[in-house]
Amino acid sequence: MTEGRVQSGPVSASLEQRVLSVAPQPVFVVDHEGRVVFANNAAARGFGYDHPEDMIGLPSHQTWHHRRPDGTPIPTDECRLLAATRAGVAAHGPHEWFVRADGSMFPTTWWCAPFEVDGDIGAVFAFTDLTERHAAEEARRARDAAEIRAAESLAAQRRILEAATSARRQIARDLHDGAQQRMLNVLLALQLTREHVPSELEALDSMLMDAMAEARHAITELRDLAAGIHPTILNTRGLVPALRSLSARTAVPTSVTAHDYGGAAAEIESCAYFVVAEALTNVVKHACATVVEVDVDGDADTLQITVRDDGCGGATPGRGLGLVGMADRVTAMGGELSITSPPRRGTTICVRLPRRSAPVRPSSSLPAS
């Protein structure tokens, strides 16, 4: 808006006229009919004219204020500029649109004050083009909206993940307290029944023993199933004992090294556990590895877990649901997962998670834009 060089008005112009002519604020004056009697350079530029003189005599309403952005006309008797001019009062239009010389429109805010023109009532107007401000606000709104969508999506991911984890925990619990406990009762009842079998009924006793063997198998299978779904030790003793137990159940020799990482929130430990479980499943299925090393470490804010095998490598992130699922879990908890897997040189998966997860905000409490 500011001009690079100093402008001066006509030689005969008063100081006030010269000031107005160079001021960056668009100003124009209309007579009682709304016709322009004066415009400064800034006003001419704002409306898209080469010279302020081009505006002189133009009817302000019919030229710059005759329609709304949606194209509907603004009748003369609804024009607030004209009304203020005729009433001889100061007025302000905070949210209006003006039409430029080329027909394009711009958002504006204007002020007017009564002003005597040739002995009759007129008005002086000042306005500001809000195009840039609107664009900046629009960009900020879009950015906020994108941030809110991302935060909502992350929060939704976490809620889904936590609901799934909680469901797994409950299923494992039900298997232990329900089915496994009942099979135990069956086993014990069969044993106590055997005590009443007369010694000559050897065949009956052997049938009872077969039934007991089946019950034992069922108990073992329920125990393994529940441990695979959600090991109880993860709730009661935390991540490292659960990982040691997991390593004992893994077909490839696996070591767990735990540095003093200071613990982490339950949902974070749960996430870390299932990521390692998935990683070990992948190693057993695909890696042809002879050893796996799981390393648990951390600092004040971060829990870091590394799973390193000496297998065939070549694991590609994004290929295969296992790796995608692992990345999803970690991202949902605000962490990062990286995979290094050069062909024939083993695979290293590194997971970094915040030790304390931020509380999941319900979407209604997200800040408004």
């Binding site: 232990h176 009762n185 014990l188 044993q191 125990r223 009661t236 004992a248 159940r249 020799p253 696996t254």
Partner: protein, 216 residues
């Protein structure tokens, strides 16, 4: 014959265990349905052996295990067997602490195996340690990288596994159908490979070897 206090929050299981123990010649002095009651009954009766479930009220977490550890501290002469729904070496380690004498860790279904349960009660009552054979199998099967246990021969692993189950050299010899001197040679090799050759008391080294085995 040993005197026993039994704790389990399921009455069917409790009664079943009592029945199995009494038929096995042991005498059950009292039963308890939660960890708090267990501690009270043990204080009153001072049994030779406590047989308790790990998961019990009040919190239904590891209350039975905590009570077992507590009892071992308060009454060193009372042996303790914990029954576990889960195959977790960590629970056994908590119970053992640094004193594996007079402790047992059995999977819960062993209550329906009178020979195993009654034998375990008898053995812990005389200061031996009893680890569920299935737990031992699981521990033996798992290999670990950079583990001194990996340097053991299969036969030495068998011997160590039986040591962990609480068998004496004579018992191990009988089970493996070898001579006692042969077992002793294996035991010495195990001590050397696990770096326990400096310890001077044989029983102490035996305990350390089992702990090495359990802790991995």
């Amino acid at each position: 014959m040993a005197t026993v206090v039994v704790a389990d929050d399921h009455s069917l299981i409790r009664e079943g265990v009592v029945r199995v123990l009494e038929r096995g010649g042991h005498r059950v002095l009292a039963v308890a349905a939660d960890a708090v009651e267990l501690l009270v009954q043990v204080d009153i009766h001072r049994p030779d052996v406590v047989v308790t479930d790990i998961e019990m009220p009040p919190s239904c977490s590891e209350d039975g295990l905590a009570a077992a550890v507590d009892i071992r501290g308060r009454h060193p002469e009372t042996a303790v067997i914990v029954l576990s729904q889960y195959l977790e070496g960590d629970y056994a380690l908590t119970l053992v602490g640094d004193r594996p004498q007079g402790v047992g860790y059995l999977l819960k279904e062993k209550i329906a195996d009178p020979d195993i349960l009654n034998d375990a009660v008898r053995r812990v009552s005389v200061g031996e340690s009893v680890l569920d054979p299935d737990a031992v199998t699981c521990l033996v099967r798992r290999g670990r990288p950079h583990d001194p246990l990996n340097t053991l021969t299969p036969r030495e692993r068998d011997v160590l596994g039986l040591m962990a189950e609480g068998h004496s050299n004579t018992g191990i010899a009988a089970r493996l159908a070898v001579t006692v001197p042969a077992v002793e040679r294996h035991v010495t090799n195990i001590f050397v490979k696990l770096g326990l050759s400096q310890a001077n008391v044989d029983q102490h080294r035996r305990v350390l070897a089992v702990l090495t085995f359990l802790r991995g």
